[in-house]
Symmetry: C2
Subunit: 269 residues, 2 copies
Amino acid sequence: MNLSRLCVHTITTKPLSIEEAAKCYSRENIRGITVWRDALEGRNIRATGKMLREEGLEIVSLCRGGFFPHLTAAGRKDAIDDNLKAIEEAVALGAPMIVLVCGAAKGQSLETSREQIREGIAAIEPYAKAAGIRLAIEPLHPMYADTRSAINTLAQANDMAEAFASPWVGVAVDVYHLWWDPALQQEIERCGKHLFAFHICDWRIPTRDILLDRALMGEGCIPVAQIREWVEGTGFNGFHEVEIFSTEYWSGDQQLFLQKIKHAYLHHS
Amino acid sequence: MNLSRLCVHTITTKPLSIEEAAKCYSRENIRGITVWRDALEGRNIRATGKMLREEGLEIVSLCRGGFFPHLTAAGRKDAIDDNLKAIEEAVALGAPMIVLVCGAAKGQSLETSREQIREGIAAIEPYAKAAGIRLAIEPLHPMYADTRSAINTLAQANDMAEAFASPWVGVAVDVYHLWWDPALQQEIERCGKHLFAFHICDWRIPTRDILLDRALMGEGCIPVAQIREWVEGTGFNGFHEVEIFSTEYWSGDQQLFLQKIKHAYLHHS
């Protein structure tokens, strides 16, 4: 392992502005950045993309589109419009891919939400293709099936990606969401060329918060290196993206946190 | 829906002693009780079973056995011994079934834990058979794969139950653990006669604690009645067991909570 394929998500260092993040990542020789849309608020997006590249950073993804399911048709149309805006933002930023957190709507069945996800991706795929932006369907852990995603296994994401049969629609594999799945190895093998993104962190024992207690690689129980080998077995040679939501890490010094991320990446990924 | 098949787990009313629970359940015309082993501590188990029956309660299950995986052979042997003790306790109590929370050991792979679970059940099955006690493998939500169970889908539990091909080994379906699974309906249909137990509660939005924030039926997003129909479609005609771990509900009046349980059961199950 070396640092050449290490990417950090801006949300991982949430206390930093994107300008601060760019400088801090660059100082640590981190070469990849995935930009969360909230980090772009109030910025000129094109200029921000240029700034990141001038700091020596490669923009891996824009995070995140999706959230297609809604109880009303108006809500679903707004969601599609927002995803089209995300495609424009990705073009302006110079990001080649958008990660889709697909969504789930309280008050309707998961199957209805899943159908609305299919419809949403179908609506935006032609625009993504025209813009040259890849869409990565990210299955989320089943504990997020209530409101964040009705796509909860890699098998479901693969089914959906295969049904689109578009080079612009693939999947994102996040070890945090998928590590428990007895079908994980076979479903990663099944991905082939539509494995677009690989996200890493660890599962803390005990997990103190359902959303904001992700751990550094090596601190928990996820066999990150094993899963990385399966991912690379598909031919994937993209970045390894560190995506950590952590009240604990966000409360500390972020430059020091980046150094810990590098150490964890080199020794436990 | 009527109350004839309503069962409450002693853990659901954790602040009550088992003697208090028996009186409170009986006062509400609740006819089924599943006894957690901690509720029996310091009691004569045979006398406690008699007391429960005298209160008009049917003992549905003893909860819980399992926790087979351990890093050491000595740890695994202790686990098997404890499960044999649970079988003796079930006989003494007059409970016809033990629910197995299968376990997972930090420091080894889920696959290794799964193999140790198979070995553990194989070791105790002859004793369960001889004692006339059924063993119900309960798949737990994937968010408990770190330390509580390496069996996280009904498909896995069905695979295991089918491999044993014993009338004494089946599965427990708990809506809280399984509701998100896109294969749930087909896996329930697959259960057939080895669907031994049905546990209900609801998934609170937002879930504030990974362990102790279960909701009453109707308060969350689980389609409990839909899942009950699938369960009954297999021919299952056992109790509907309310199993709720909730810091919030435990802090209130337990008789009032039992009335809320009855209302939720009659209107949202």
